[in-house]
Amino acid sequence: MNNSFLRVSIWVYLVIFFLYLLGPLVIMSVTAFNSSAFPRMTPWECLTFQWFGELFQDQRILNGIKNSLIIGAGTVVLSVAMGLAGALMLTQIWPKLRATYYTIIIAPILIPGVVLGISTLVFWDRINRMLGLGADSVLSNGIFLTVIGQSTFIASYCMLVLVARLQRYDIALTEAALDLGASHAQAFRKILLPFMRPAIASAAVLAFLASFENYNTTTFTFGGYPTLTIELAQKVRYGITPSISALAFIIVALTVFFALLNEAKLKRQELVAAARKQATVEELAGKIKLPSFFAGNMAAVLLVVFAVATITVVGTATAYDPGQCIANVKEQKQLEAEQRIQELRKQREEQRLRREEERKQRFEGVFEPGDLQPGSTEEEAEPDTGTNNSGFGNVFAPNALGGDSDEGEAEPETPPAGNGGFGGAFDPNSLQSDD
């Protein structure tokens, strides 16, 4: 009994854990398909693909992707090379130096990314000045600095991945190659490199992903070349839209796709290896064919399901037109808005009456304190002209007002009318206002 209780609690824990881990990603992905202008799952308005369209028209995002790819490629090359050299050195360094050396090359993993970014910036700026180069030299170029800064710690990750494989390498293999007449370079290229290839591939993928998602270091070094992550951070800080969700969905989908692909490939290799062990020479030639790709390979099956789903979604997206639904929702919202405005008006009326009674003063000119917030929409400032229904709908789509999400300051004092629609509670600007 105790045992089954333990088992149940383990599964409950696992469910909660993976909800925490994957739930946010799922919810974020789903919001990419909701027509609500603020990324959210509830209330569900209409299924739409418009945010993807917006995403692909955003020049800053596209430019960010381009920069990220360039920097990622540079970082992969530099950090895999340094990581491999570092790993090779670790296996043959003088024993007395090994601990110190290991501490040095592992340290960048623990040093905060902010510190790495700053030190890179400061150091190369100094080098640049010492060489008497101008502010536009290669050494102060955003791409160069970012690649250098990121590689500092990404190379450590690569080194760890590579050294794990290198430890299983038999140095006698290199010696055998040399003994058979190969030069050191040939032995490296023909023996060690093929042996290390899986680890190098892992390290390269790891390096690229780490570079692609890096923010802390890059934010100090990017100069004139903001990466995708930098652009995203700017966007998220200054107002969020579902097109970010759309981008996130694409990244999640790609990640899942490649993870499954990789898993399916690994599984297949295992099956092939197992088959080879049993097969005789004659059988080997024609045996492993496509159908067995799926045999006992869960990941491969999932992969196919995933691909079919993608095709379906894309197919739907081209054929589907949410216009009618969006129009309905808009109408609905307008009705709601109207209703609220009526209520609001009633409230205001009551307030005014009350105030009139309290202070027999000028009744029309008194504004609520909240109404004077900078950037508040006109409709809000002048609720009495509330017949302007179409404009009021914007309150529910705060970002439609422009990138600077000026609704930010509106929260607590605003009348309840704004409550439902405001994303302003997230208030990215208030961060800045403390600066």
Binding site: L173, L180, G181
Partner: protein, 370 residues
């Protein structure tokens, strides 16, 4: 013997820090010889091999191959091929690619390489296995692939670093014959490293016995077995019984020694030590188990030993008697089985007889560990 390329070590010293791995080695290996370095692990024999193949620089002295000084010439430039203890087959290459790796380095075409690989695979009796991976072969097959790979490089000298140690006993014995056959067929110099005296004795033209960095004796197998230079060589190669004592009197090539237990015994001074041993020296006398015979009770003299029998065992071809010896070590006596009846002597004293020329006297020295 065909005239192959010889290898000479001249005053070779190899040090790692303070540790001396090889001390003043002087060896001349004739071209076309099957030459073994025999010694316990850690004696420096692998170090010598690495110096010959070029992975190690000698601290002092020279390595000559075919009369040419190899100083400063890397392993990839030397006319040697090494078969590693763990074989070091390239795990990601197919068998035929492994075998012809040296040709790939020289830029040979795939067709040429395939052809040569097939020839070599036939030679090592693995026809049609070229497309397998090394991991798909058995231990003995891998062994042969490693040999083929080394031979494909057409070396003048083939170096073998205990290549049989990973195989089981049956296969090991089979491979001994096979290696010897291959060596005689290709006619190049083989330098073989082993700690197994059986391997060394059965295959080699000449053997160097090594102990802690020092070469004790270089000779053919028979000489080493019958006429060892040192106590170590006598005790390491084959089974031997040791009697310690002091030289009492030197009589030409023979000497009388005074032992602690068995009285004065006479022995032949080993060839290398003749003329060097004098009265009063500490000495060791070695007598092989099979060199004893049981003497009639009460026989005494300088070639009789009396001892108490601890236990006996019957091994088929021989009958072994273990008697009390010196320092806790037993004296082993093997009587050949000719179908005669054996009497159980356990607990009794017996008298053993030997012929003087079978008792070898060397200066006292370090014995091989059991």
């Amino acid at each position: 013997m065909s005239a192959g390329v010889g290898v000479d070590l001249e005053n070779l010293w190899i040090r790692f820090g303070d540790f001396v791995a090889v001390r003043d080695a002087n060896v001349n290996i004739n071209g076309g010889d099957f030459f073994s370095f025999l010694g316990p692990s850690g004696c420096g024999k692998t170090t010598i091999l690495r110096a010959v193949s070029g992975f190690l620089d000698p601290s002092e002295g020279r390595v000559l191959i075919g009369g040419n000084d190899m100083q400063g010439i890397g392993p990839n430039k030397r006319p040697t091929a090494l078969i590693f203890q763990n074989l070091a087959l390239f795990p990601l290459m197919k068998v035929w690619e492994n075998i012809t790796f040296s040709m790939e380095i020289k830029g040979a075409s795939a067709a040429q390489r395939r052809k040569r690989a097939d020839e070599l695979l036939d030679m090592i009796a693995l026809p049609g296995q070229g497309d397998k991976l090394p991991s798909e072969l058995s231990g003995g097959q891998r062994q042969r692939v490693a040999i083929a790979r080394a031979l494909c490089a057409e070396p003048d000298v083939l170096l073998l670093d205990e290549p049989l140690s990973a195989l089981d006993l049956k296969l090991r014995q089979h491979m001994r014959t096979e290696l010897r056959e291959i060596q005689q067929r290709v006619g190049i110099t083989f330098i073989y490293i082993t700690h197994d005296q059986g391997e060394a004795l059965t295959m080699s033209d000449n053997i160097a016995v090594m102990r802690a960095g020092v070469i004790d004796q270089i000779a053919d197998g028979k000489t080493i077995y019958n006429d060892p230079n040192t106590a170590f060589a006598a005790s390491f190669v084959g089974e031997n019984n040791v009697f310690r004592g002091k030289v009492k009197q030197v009589m030409g090539n023979e000497a009388m020694i005074a032992t602690n237990r068995s009285g004065d015994l006479v022995a032949r001074i080993s060839t290398a030590n003749q003329g060097k041993m004098k009265e009063g020296d500490d000495a060791m006398m070695f007598i092989r188990p099979e060199a004893f015979a049981i003497a009639p009770d009460g026989a005494t003299g300088d070639h009789f030993v009396t001892a108490r029998v601890n236990h006996e065992e019957f091994e088929g071809n021989v009958f072994n008697i273990f008697t009390e010896g010196e320092g806790g070590k037993e004296i082993k006596v093997s009587i050949p089985n000719h179908g005669q009846s054996f009497q159980d002597h356990t607990g009794q004293n017996i008298t053993l007889e030997y012929e003087t020329h079978n008792a070898v006297l060397v200066p006292a020295g370090e014995l091989a560990a059991e």
